[in-house]
């Protein structure tokens, strides 16, 4: 089948640097002495820890439960013992820490009971839940939980499944090597994904600079009807989800919508491979392929357990002496790691050793000359220079009007900028500031609502209390008035000498007195009604003790009655 290919605007062609790390086969990285597994490794809610320090674990045991449906589980990468559940530094540009499970491997690699699922007999809903609990997330870098993407969107069903093997970013070769060596696994995963969404056709998009991967995938899919492997032109960022969908199907997905709304959905090849392992083998996502490359003696790809410290991986590739920093991800979208004592996560596709010779430092940032090179390079057809002005001026409203949230942070604009402006840094700053502002606004609105509700409630309670009190007083008055009539008659007979001037005041006064007297009588009755508790079945010792205490009390009462001695 010859597919018609479409094109996306813009894009750049940086030199690929991919050959070096594809010469050796994928090797398994040795078991490190410690594993640090971050609980939050996907978009959505952070999973809740299920283990405590000291607990024994089997390989593949669940250690983090998904928090809500938009979340994904976390599993023990090997068997061993939990050393701690504590905050550890994450491989994140912020250099902040978050909750991690620290595991000391016992070297036995003892698996939990692996229960493969017969997917042909299972319902799509059950399979989606299973994938969530197996911790399957997008391995292309964004780590979006896969089960969410497998839901049909507004269009009702997903007709076209796109498998992303483009791997457009320079230096990274983990998907390339996976397709070359494990094409069958990927294809079996594709079959499952296809079954869940009941897609009619599957398009595997691979950049045409990976002929071996294309050949391997073609061979593996020869028996699968409706699956076609399509080489796409090599142009960064062809592996961007929306870009690849556009190249393969011509569908352009607007901001805020998902491919599933247009009957198309995209998964990474490594994600398909992990889906196969989860369903056909019963193994949750506990490892991934990581490219170690850059300024190293032995570049290559390694199958690494999630949570392996990067410092333990680096000796495998033997970084050269002049390495000054390490990048996670590619040179276009990746970031400089704040250190090497950080764990590999589900998002870590590549670690590049950088040196001044390999990645010369960018020159001084010069003023924007409005040359428009960035606009020509932008794959989402934005105007990066305008966004730059607005972000720099913190004019976030305008930046939003110019579509800053459409920006995929691919770095093409910064790559072509003749003034060395770090454009993406500005967009990231503006986007995260806007998100913070949104969050603050939402909390402020919630606080306002709660405050207004509280004020309202206070007023209502006050009104209710006044009404209740008024009703009580009125009822009391009425009761007294009823009782006071005969006594008033008595008063007139016994004390006829009272002056007429006092008369109109007397009934009020007496009513008040009667009210007070009634209250005192009530209180006395209540006091009399109270009986000492726990006074039955006392031992003679207890009774003696009570008598002693009573005697002491009487003495104190007597003392209180006698007038205090004059101060000297």
């Amino acid at each position: 089948m010859i597919a018609t290919l479409f094109a996306f605007k813009g894009g750049v062609k940086p030199s690929a640097h991919k050959e070096a790390s594809t010469l050796a086969p994928i090797l398994r990285a040795p078991l490190p002495p410690r594993l640090v597994v971050p609980l939050r490794q996907s978009a959505g809610g952070a999973p809740l820890p299920l283990v405590v320090a000291g607990q024994k674990l089997s390989k593949g045991e669940r250690i983090g439960a998904p928090e809500g449906n938009f979340s994904s589980a976390i599993h023990a990468p090997t068997s061993g013992r939990v050393l701690a559940v504590e905050d550890r530094l994450l491989p994140h540009p912020s250099g902040l820490s978050a909750l991690c499970v620290v595991i000391e491997p016992d070297g036995e690699e003892r698996w939990i009971d692996r229960n493969p699922v017969n997917y042909a007999a299972a319902t799509p809903d059950a399979l989606r839940d299973y994938l969530r609990d197996a911790g399957i997330v997008g391995l292309g870098g964004a780590t979006f939980p896969s089960h969410i993407k497998l839901k049909p969107g507004a269009s009702g069903r997903i007709e076209t499944l796109i498998i992303n093997g483009a791997e457009c970013e320079p230096w990274i070769t983990c998907d390339d090597m996976l397709m070359r060596e494990r094409a069958t696994e990927v294809v079996r995963g594709i079959d499952i994904l296809r079954h869940i969404v009941s897609a009619e056709r599957v398009l595997v998009g691979i950049e045409d600079n990976k002929p071996q991967a294309v050949a391997a995938m073609r061979a593996a899919t020869a028996q699968s009807p409706g699956v076609s492997v399509v080489p796409v032109p090599t142009r960064y960022p062809a592996g961007g989800e929306k870009q690849l969908i556009r190249v393969l199907t011509g569908i352009e997905i607007p901001y805020g919508r998902f491919g599933s709304d247009f009957g198309v959905q995209c998964f990474n090849v490594a994600t398909a491979g992990s889906v196969h392992r989860a369903i056909n083998l019963g193994e949750p996502l506990i490892s991934r392929i990581v490219t170690l490359t850059g300024n190293v003696e032995r570049p290559g790809n390694y199958e690494v357990l999630i949570g392996t410290p990067i410092a333990d991986l680096l000796p495998l590739a033997a970084p050269k002496a002049d390495t000054d920093r390490y990048l996670m991800g590619g040179p276009m979208m990746g970031f400089t790691l704040p250190g090497t004592d950080l764990p590999v996560t589900k998002a870590s596709n590549c670690i590049i050793a950088a040196s001044k010779a390999l990645f010369p430092p960018l020159g001084t940032e010069l003023p924007c000359i409005r040359c428009g090179a960035c606009t020509r390079a932008c794959p989402v057809e934005l105007q990066p220079h305008e966004l730059y002005w607005f972000s720099r001026a913190k004019n976030f409203g305008k930046a939003q009007e110019y579509g800053i949230f459409d920006c995929i942070e691919c770095g093409c604009c910064a790559y072509v900028c003749p003034s060395n402006i770090r454009l993406v840094d500005y967009y990231r700053f503006a986007k995260s500031s806007m998100r913070t502002l949104e969050r603050e606004k939402a909390t402020a609105n919630a606080a306002r609502e709660r405050f207004e509700f509280r004020t309202l409630r206070d007023e209502r309670e006050k009104a209710e209390k006044t009404a209740r009190l008024a009703a009580k007083t009125a009822a009391g008055r009425q009761a007294i008035a009823g009782a006071a009539k005969p006594s008033a008659a008595q008063a007139t007979t016994t004390a006829p000498a009272q002056s007429s001037a006092e008369k109109p005041l007397a009934p009020l006064d007496e009513q008040k007195k009667a009210l007070i007297a009634a209250a005192i009588a009530r209180a006395q009755a209540q006091r009399a009604g109270v009986q000492p508790k726990n006074t039955e079945n006392l031992t003679p010792e207890k009774q003696a003790e009570i008598r002693e205490i009573e005697a002491r009390r009487d003495k104190v009462r007597e003392l209180a009655k006698t007038p205090p001695a004059e101060p000297v």
């Binding site: 939050r40 952070a46 994450l90 994140h92 540009p93 912020s94 902040l96 978050a98 720099r392 913190k394 770090r422 840094d425 500005y426 990231r428 700053f429 986007k431 995260s432 500031s433 998100r435 913070t436 969050r439 603050e440 909390t443 402020a444 609105n445 919630a446 606080a447 306002r448 709660r450 405050f451 207004e452 509700f453 509280r454 004020t455």
Partner: protein, 184 residues
């Protein structure tokens, strides 16, 4: 001459009627300025401005009775926004009303709490859960950090803790580095 007068009077009557109708039909309920000011205020409801809540302060600002620099939680940025909105001159935060602090939440030391409910009565946003002689606790996501629960506590078991930056709330730094600050 007479016709002209009639025509002018007629137009005046018609336009007057239209204006009168419009003033009833399109009447704006409430004061939109108060809402705009209230939207800028941080809704901490802390009362540091001298008013019992953000809305009363917004109303006082709208009436022009008070300065715009009496809201410490809103900080300098809040004053700038108010100055922009009202066309006033920016003024630094007035010292007598307090100082700008990073966002914080109250935390109850649950071992010390005696369950007196005084703090639940003081909380302007109902962020404290507890009943008489039961331990109280603060619902951290709802706490505005207003510190109003601190003075009523008889056992001083409430402390204000700064909200730490997490990976989720972290934001990228402003990439422009001022040379003067760098030199300092």
């Amino acid at each position: 001459m007479f016709t002209a007068l009639l025509v002018m009077a007629g137009i005046a009557v018609v336009l007057g009627a239209m204006l009168g109708y419009a003033s009833i039909r399109f009447k704006v309920k409430g004061d939109p300025l108060v809402d705009k000011i209230d939207a800028i205020l941080p809704q901490t409801q802390c009362g540091q401005c001298g008013f019992p809540g953000c809305k009363p302060y917004a109303q006082a600002i709208a009436r022009g009775e008070v300065e715009i620099n009496q809201c410490p939680p809103g900080g300098e940025e809040g004053i700038r926004k108010l100055a922009d909105l009202l066309g006033k001159e920016f003024k630094p935060l007035s010292a007598e009303h307090g100082v700008e602090k990073p966002k914080q939440v109250a935390v109850i030391d649950e071992d010390v709490c005696i369950g007196c409910t005084l703090c639940t009565q003081a909380c302007p946003v109902d962020a404290i859960v507890g009943a008489a002689k039961q331990m109280h606790t603060i619902v951290a996501p709802l706490c505005t950090g207003c510190e109003l629960c601190l003075p009523p506590c008889p056992v001083d078991c409430i402390a204000m803790v700064a909200v730490p930056e997490t990976v989720e709330t972290w934001k990228w730094r402003y990439p422009v580095i001022r040379l003067k600050e760098q030199a300092a």
